[in-house]
Subunit: 272 residues, 2 copies
Amino acid sequence: MKNVLLSIEYDGTNFCGWQRQPAKRTVQGELEKVLADLCCVEVSLNGTSRTDAGVHALGQRACFKGEFAIPLENIGRAANNILAGGNRHKAGDVRIKEVQEMPLDFHARFDAKGKTYLYRLATGEVPSVFARNYSYFIKDPLDVALMSEAAAHIVGKHDFKCFEAAGGNPRETTVRTITALEVTEADGGITLAVTGDGFLYNMVRIITGTLVDVGSGRIRPDEIPGIITSCDRQNAGHTAPPQGLYLAEVYFDRLPEIKTGKKLQQNSIFNV
Amino acid sequence: MKNVLLSIEYDGTNFCGWQRQPAKRTVQGELEKVLADLCCVEVSLNGTSRTDAGVHALGQRACFKGEFAIPLENIGRAANNILAGGNRHKAGDVRIKEVQEMPLDFHARFDAKGKTYLYRLATGEVPSVFARNYSYFIKDPLDVALMSEAAAHIVGKHDFKCFEAAGGNPRETTVRTITALEVTEADGGITLAVTGDGFLYNMVRIITGTLVDVGSGRIRPDEIPGIITSCDRQNAGHTAPPQGLYLAEVYFDRLPEIKTGKKLQQNSIFNV
């Protein structure tokens, strides 16, 4: 018996999210089908994050167990070939980046110490047809300095109930620690990068919407502490749409220290 | 009666090309439907270039005639709103960039003096799920200096029959003038920019495939003149796939002079 951990990249545009659902195309469903065919064993994937429809991943993690008919090192290559429809010049919309064996008691969700999400905002006069599924277009000018000031109030250990949408799984506590929340301006857009030990339902999208509301002047940065302590979703900003959100990285060893000023490798992520 | 010229951007991924076809989703078909509803007049669009399925446009041009119920300056905004499904935070996959009135005898195809196409190659160890519909992934290392050397042999006035695919409309002559063909390396890829007074069927894709074959060592740059004078498609390289191709610009006044070294504004085009 082996316990296999995958690192997975996907374009969420044409998926009804991560989680397997009957008669719907989901990332988990597609991967389980391909892996079961390849490994000649029924596959049940445990993903770190149940991303919503339209949300992307640069580094989703998921593990599965089984006695496999093919060597571990061939699983990724063989699966990607099937996922790309046999076209070696074009990826499919989901791709396995890495395959590794883990101890049998390892679990991709329960053992995750934290995650980094990116959120991409596109700014400018008009929306681009090419960015429509990969960013949130904002026509209003956004004040990045105000957004950064607001972001600094969010970093830390807080009860983040104000940033939780209804409809998620019940949680024991709504206290989470955000170790970094950076707002970076680059050609034609703004990227938010948020790292934390865990996230409530739609938390990154509500934080993003709130920071957009700060950037456009609807909320002042100094209102953020009061919004957080109110524990009231009504006081926070709007929920940003799914297509700008990317699950970027999952941490199993330990969460990175609180830090600022880290430059994102934007070119490698967002250039097509 | 007015003659209206449009500048149009589209993501060709989910279109069966430009040209109207019964029961298929095409750019011309979608635009004619939306414009007819808006203008309360039957609309027949003349596009400059009949792009193939999967091919994109940054600046396709098309004109149509009619007596309109709405003012000219409202056509673009109203059409884009319908094309985006009423979502002002997200473009549709086709968008009107500009609307202008032209003399009645102006024709978007017959009056075009030339065009610029871009072709985007993605390089690296593995293909990206995000680039799959917007570039041609090449795993082999490509020698950009060799590609530029080969490109220089293609610039000029030649019989380009060797770069014409079967299946296009019959042409009076296969002589064309290429005024610029530039190969530029940027983060994670290579962009070709080719400007000419006209292009044969699949000509840019065959030139691209030939330059890729040069870059990977299958064709030497000094073989290009012989390939051109042979007038034989068999001697040229492979046909690059449609998803890397972008109709970038159409020239009506005059074709730009032959020039080299022009830096592309890549960020504004390819960043999402």
